[in-house]
C-alpha cells in the first residue's frame, strides 16, 4: 500500500496525477484496487453464510448475527436430523424434557430432492423431444408456436394457483395419488414450465450441423435413431445444464408447493424451512441447521458443474 500512496501525494501537490506515474505503477495501483474491491465483495457474500453456520451451532434460537457462536450446542442439528435430545425446561428446578421433531426436517430435504429430481428428469424428456421437433423438423406455424410458448410462459405460476387447485382437486377424485397434497400432483404441475428450456435446447441443437444425421439417414437409420443415437449424445452438455437449472429452480419453488402440499410429511424444503419462521416464533437455530444441511450439497453440485452452466447460459440465452 505504501508504494501506492507515495505517488498519489506527489500528484495532489502538482495536480497532474496520471502523467507522472509510470505505466508499471499505474498497473500496480489498479491491481491493488481490483483485489481490494473483489475481496470486499467476497466478504459481503461470505458473511451471511458464515453467520448461518454459526447460528446453527449456537444455543437458543437467535437470528444469525455472530461470526463465531458464543455457546456451542448441537441441539439444532440433532433436531434437524431427527435425533432426540434433552432440553432444560425450567432452569430453576433443572427439569428437562426430550425434544424430537415430529417430522424430521431432513425429510423435507429428501422430499425436495425427490420432487425436483423427477420433475427435472421429466422436463428433460418433454423439452428435449419438443426441442428436436422445433430444431430439426419442419411444420406449419413452427416459429409462431415457439413464440407463443415463450410469451404464454410469462404468466406467473403464482397467479395460476386457483386453476392448479381446481385441476388437482379434479384429478384427485379419480386418481388419489395424483391429487392435492400429493408429491406426484406437484411434480405434474411443475412439468408445465418447459418453454424456456425448449428454447435453450433448441438453440444448442441448431449449433450442431445436421450433416452427421443426414449421412446416418443415408446409411438407413430412421429419424428416431438419428435423434437418439447421434444428436442426443452430442448434446449431453446442454441437457446437464437444463437439468441443473431446473433442479435448482424447483428446489427453491415456494408458492405452488405451499398451496399443493398441506401435511408436513409431504412438505418440500422451501415450505418446511419457512415454517420455522412464524411471525410469533422464529426458530432461527433450527432454520439455520436445515439451511446449511440442505444448502451445502446443492451449492457444491452447482459449483462442480459451473463450467457447463455458464456455457449453457451463454449459448442458450444469447445465441442469435
Amino acid at each position: 500500500m505504501t508504494t501506492v500512496q507515495t505517488p498519489r501525494k506527489e500528484e495532489s501537490q502538482t495536480g497532474t496525477v496520471r502523467k507522472r506515474l509510470t505505466p508499471t505503477q499505474k498497473i500496480a495501483i489498479r491491481k491493488v484496487l481490483a483485489h481490494a474491491f473483489l475481496i470486499g465483495f467476497i466478504i459481503l457474500v461470505l458473511v451471511p453464510f458464515i453467520m448461518v453456520i454459526s447460528a446453527s451451532f449456537r444455543k437458543g434460537n437467535f437470528a444469525p448475527s455472530e461470526l463465531i457462536p458464543d455457546k456451542i450446542s448441537l441441539e439444532h442439528w440433532k433436531f434437524v436430523l431427527g435425533i432426540p435430545y434433552q432440553e432444560v425446561v425450567n432452569p430453576a428446578t433443572g427439569e428437562t424434557r426430550i425434544v424430537k421433531a415430529a417430522t424430521p426436517p431432513l425429510l423435507w430435504f429428501w422430499n425436495s430432492i425427490k420432487v425436483s429430481f423427477i420433475a427435472s428428469a421429466g422436463i428433460i424428456f418433454l423439452s428435449g423431444s419438443a426441442a428436436y421437433g422445433f430444431a430439426r423438423l419442419y411444420f406449419k406455424f413452427r416459429s409462431a408456436t415457439l413464440g407463443t410458448l415463450l410469451i404464454l410462459q410469462m404468466f406467473p405460476m403464482v397467479l395460476a394457483l386457483v386453476a392448479f387447485y381446481v385441476i388437482l382437486d379434479f384429478t384427485g377424485q379419480y386418481i388419489p395419488w395424483l391429487g392435492l397434497n400429493t408429491q406426484p400432483g406437484l411434480i405434474m404441475i411443475y412439468l408445465g414450465g418447459i418453454s424456456s428450456y425448449i428454447w435453450m435446447i433448441k438453440g444448442y441443437f441448431e449449433t450442431i450441423p445436421p450433416s452427421m444425421e443426414e449421412s446416418a439417414r443415408i446409411d438407413g437409420a430412421t429419424q428416431f435413431q438419428t435423434f437418439i443415437r447421434i444428436l442426443l449424445p452430442i448434446s449431453a452438455p446442454i441437457f446437464a445444464v437444463v437439468f441443473i437449472l431446473a433442479f435448482i429452480g424447483y428446489m427453491s419453488e415456494y408458492p405452488v408447493a405451499s398451496v399443493v402440499l398441506q401435511s408436513s410429511d409431504n412438505w418440500t424444503l422451501a415450505v418446511g424451512a419457512n415454517s420455522f419462521l412464524y411471525e410469533q416464533e422464529k426458530l432461527w437455530g433450527r432454520f439455520s441447521a436445515l439451511a446449511v444441511l440442505s444448502g451445502v450439497p446443492i451449492t457444491v453440485i452447482f459449483l462442480l458443474c459451473q463450467r457447463f452452466i455458464v456455457g449453457g447460459l451463454v449459448s442458450g440465452g444469447v445465441k442469435e
Binding site: 457474500v45 423431444s129 406467473p156 386457483v162 408458492p255 398451496v259 446443492i298
Partner: protein, 513 residues
C-alpha cells in the same frame, strides 16, 4: 418406428388403454364434457403416434400437451374468472345454491316415524323408518357414511339421502342399534344434521331423540329458476347482477352464487378508489423495483466480470467461484437468511451499523427502509447471473480492439464506456428484458422477505413493498381477501404487461427463429 412397428403399437396400446378406462370412469361419474375432451386427446395421441403423416408431432405431443394443461388452461381459466363475480361471498355455482335453499324446510305436522339405525360397518349405516300411524309404510335408505365432520357447515352441504319403500316382511341387513347407542354424540350429532327424502319428494329429518318427522321444503323451484316460499308465498329470483337470490324488495336470501359480471372487476381496478389507489402505487413500485434491480445487478455484475477478465489479477479462479455463490445457493434459503440479518432489533446488519455509525435503519417498519433492503438483497442475489453472462460476452470481444485503443492512448475507464459497454449491451438486451420481466413477478423475494410489509395506510390488504403479483396473491388468498374474480382481473392485466415485454424481447432478439 416411422412405419408403426409392433413395438410402437404395444407402447401406444399401453398408454391408450388405461387412459380409455379412466375416460370411461369419468363419463360414468357424470362429467360428460371433460370425458369428451379427454377422449379427443386420447384419439389425438393414438393418431399422432400411429399415423406416419403426423410423424413430426410425435416429438412435440408430450411437451405441448403438458404445456396446454398447465400453462394454457390455467391462463384461460384465470381470464374467464376475471369476468365473473367469484369471491368468498359468491363462492358456489348457481345450482349448488339452489339445492342449498331447497334443503331449507319447515315443519308441516305431517307424518311422524319411528326409526332404527342398522349398522353395516364402522361408519356405514342404513336408516329404517316406520310410520307411526300407518305401520305398513316402511322405508329404508342405502348405506351412508355417518361420521362427525369437523366443520359444522359441511353437514348442511350434504345432499338429502333418498329413502326407498320397503316391501312387507323385509328387513334391512345388519344389526339394529339400541337406543343408548344411537343417542351417543358420535352418532347423534351427525345424524341430526342429515336430511332424507321420501319417494314423494317430502323431506324427513330427526325431531327430538325418538322420532323422525316429515318436513316440507320451504322453497318450491319454479321452471323459470325462481323459488316460491310455501309459508308466505314470497317469490325470490336469482339476481344475476349481484349474484344473490332476492325478493321483490331486493332483500337477499341465502348465500351468493358465481355470476358473469363482464368488465366489472376491471372497472373496479380503474374506478374504485380503494383498489385504484393501491394499484397505481404498487404498479409504480413494481416498475421501479424491476428497473432498479436489473440496472444495479447488471452494473455490479459487469464491473466484476470486467475485473475478472483482467489477466494481471491473480487468483481469478478462486474469486470467480466465491462470487458465484449467491447464485448457487437455493434462493429461498438466502432470502430467509437475509430476513434474519436485516431484523430491525437483533439482526447482524443493524448491530454492525449501530456499532460503527450509531445508526439503525428501520428495515421492517419504514417503507423506504424495506424497499432499500429489498433492492440490496436482490442485487446480492442477481449479480452473479449478470456476471456470468457478461463474462461470456466479454470473452467474445477480440483483444485487438483494446490493443488498438491502447495505442491511441486510451485508459481502462474510457475503454469500458466506449468499447466494452457498446459491444456487450445490444446482445445482452434480451436477457436484460427477461430479467426485468422476472423481477416484475419476483413473488418469492417479497413474500419471504417482507411479506409486502409495512402495511399501506388505507390500502386494505396492500403492503408498501408488495409487487403486483404479491398484491394479486393477497386479494385471492389472504384471509381478508378471497376475491378470485378481482384477483384474476389483476392477473390478466399483469400477464398482458409481461407478455408484451416478452413479445418485444422476441422481436428484438429473434431475427430467425
Amino acid at each position: 418406428m416411422t412405419k408403426g412397428s409392433p413395438l410402437s403399437l404395444v407402447i401406444v396400446a399401453l398408454v391408450a388403454l388405461p387412459a380409455l378406462y379412466l375416460d370411461f370412469v369419468l363419463y360414468q361419474a357424470g362429467t360428460g364434457w371433460i370425458a369428451l375432451i379427454f377422449l379427443i386427446i386420447i384419439a389425438l395421441f393414438v393418431f399422432v403416434y400411429l399415423s406416419p403423416s403426423a410423424y413430426t408431432f410425435r416429438y412435440l405431443f408430450p411437451g405441448l400437451f403438458g404445456f396446454a394443461l398447465f400453462v394454457i388452461f390455467p391462463l384461460l381459466y384465470t381470464v374467464l374468472i376475471s369476468f365473473t363475480k367469484y369471491s368468498s361471498q359468491n363462492l358456489l355455482p348457481l345450482e349448488r345454491v339452489i339445492s342449498l335453499l331447497r334443503q331449507e324446510t319447515f315443519s308441516t305436522g305431517g307424518s311422524t316415524f319411528q326409526y332404527k339405525l342398522f349398522k353395516q360397518s364402522d361408519t356405514q349405516y342404513i336408516l329404517y323408518l316406520q310410520d307411526e300411524k300407518d305401520p305398513a309404510r316402511r322405508f329404508a335408505s342405502d348405506p351412508f357414511d355417518l361420521t362427525v365432520s369437523t366443520g359444522s357447515h359441511a353437514i348442511s352441504l350434504l345432499d338429502p339421502q333418498p329413502l326407498q319403500p320397503l316391501p312387507p316382511g323385509q328387513q334391512p341387513p345388519g344389526q339394529p342399534l339400541e337406543m343408548p347407542q344411537v343417542t351417543r354424540a358420535k352418532l347423534f350429532i351427525p345424524m341430526r344434521g342429515r336430511q332424507f327424502v321420501l319417494p314423494d319428494d317430502k323431506l324427513v329429518s330427526m325431531e327430538g331423540l325418538q322420532k323422525f318427522s316429515t318436513r316440507d321444503r320451504l322453497w318450491i323451484l319454479n321452471p323459470d329458476r325462481t323459488l316460491t316460499n310455501r309459508k308466505d308465498g314470497t317469490i325470490i329470483r336469482p339476481d344475476f347482477r349481484t349474484g344473490f337470490f332476492v325478493n321483490e324488495k331486493g332483500q337477499r336470501y341465502g348465500v351468493g352464487f358465481r355470476v358473469f359480471s363482464g368488465f366489472e372487476n376491471y372497472m373496479r381496478i380503474v374506478t374504485d378508489p380503494r383498489i385504484q389507489g393501491p394499484f397505481v402505487r404498487i404498479f409504480v413500485w413494481t416498475v421501479t423495483f424491476s428497473a432498479l434491480s436489473v440496472l444495479s445487478s447488471f452494473g455490479v455484475g459487469v464491473l466484476i466480470a470486467v475485473i475478472l477478465e483482467w489477466k494481471e489479477v491473480r487468483f481469478r479462479g478462486i474469486y470467480r467461484t466465491l462470487l458465484i455463490l449467491p447464485y448457487a445457493v437455493p434462493a429461498v434459503l438466502s432470502i430467509l437468511i437475509f430476513k434474519g440479518l436485516f431484523n430491525q432489533e437483533f439482526g447482524a446488519v443493524n448491530e454492525f451499523l449501530r456499532a460503527m455509525f450509531h445508526f439503525a435503519p428501520e428495515w421492517e417498519t419504514n417503507p423506504w427502509g424495506a424497499r432499500v433492503m429489498l433492492l440490496l438483497v436482490n442485487v446480492w442475489l442477481g449479480y452473479p447471473y449478470m456476471m456470468l453472462i457478461s463474462t461470456g460476452m466479454l470473452q467474445s470481444i477480440p483483444v485487438t480492439i483494446y490493443e488498438a485503443s491502447a495505442i491511441d492512448g486510451s485508459n481502462p475507464l474510457k475503454d469500458f464506456y466506449h468499447i466494452t459497454l457498446p459491444l456487450i449491451i445490444p446482445p445482452l438486451l434480451p436477457i436484460l428484458i427477461s430479467s426485468f420481466a422476472f423481477n416484475f413477478n419476483n413473488f418469492n423475494l417479497i413474500y419471504l422477505l417482507t411479506a409486502g410489509g409495512p402495511k399501506m395506510v388505507g390500502g386494505g390488504i396492500a403492503g408498501e413493498t408488495d409487487l403486483l403479483v404479491n398484491y394479486t396473491f393477497n386479494i385471492a388468498f389472504r384471509d381478508s381477501g378471497t376475491n378470485y374474480g378481482l384477483a384474476s382481473a389483476v392477473a390478466t392485466l399483469l400477464f398482458i404487461i409481461v407478455g408484451t415485454l416478452a413479445w418485444i424481447n422476441l422481436r428484438m432478439s429473434g431475427r430467425r427463429i
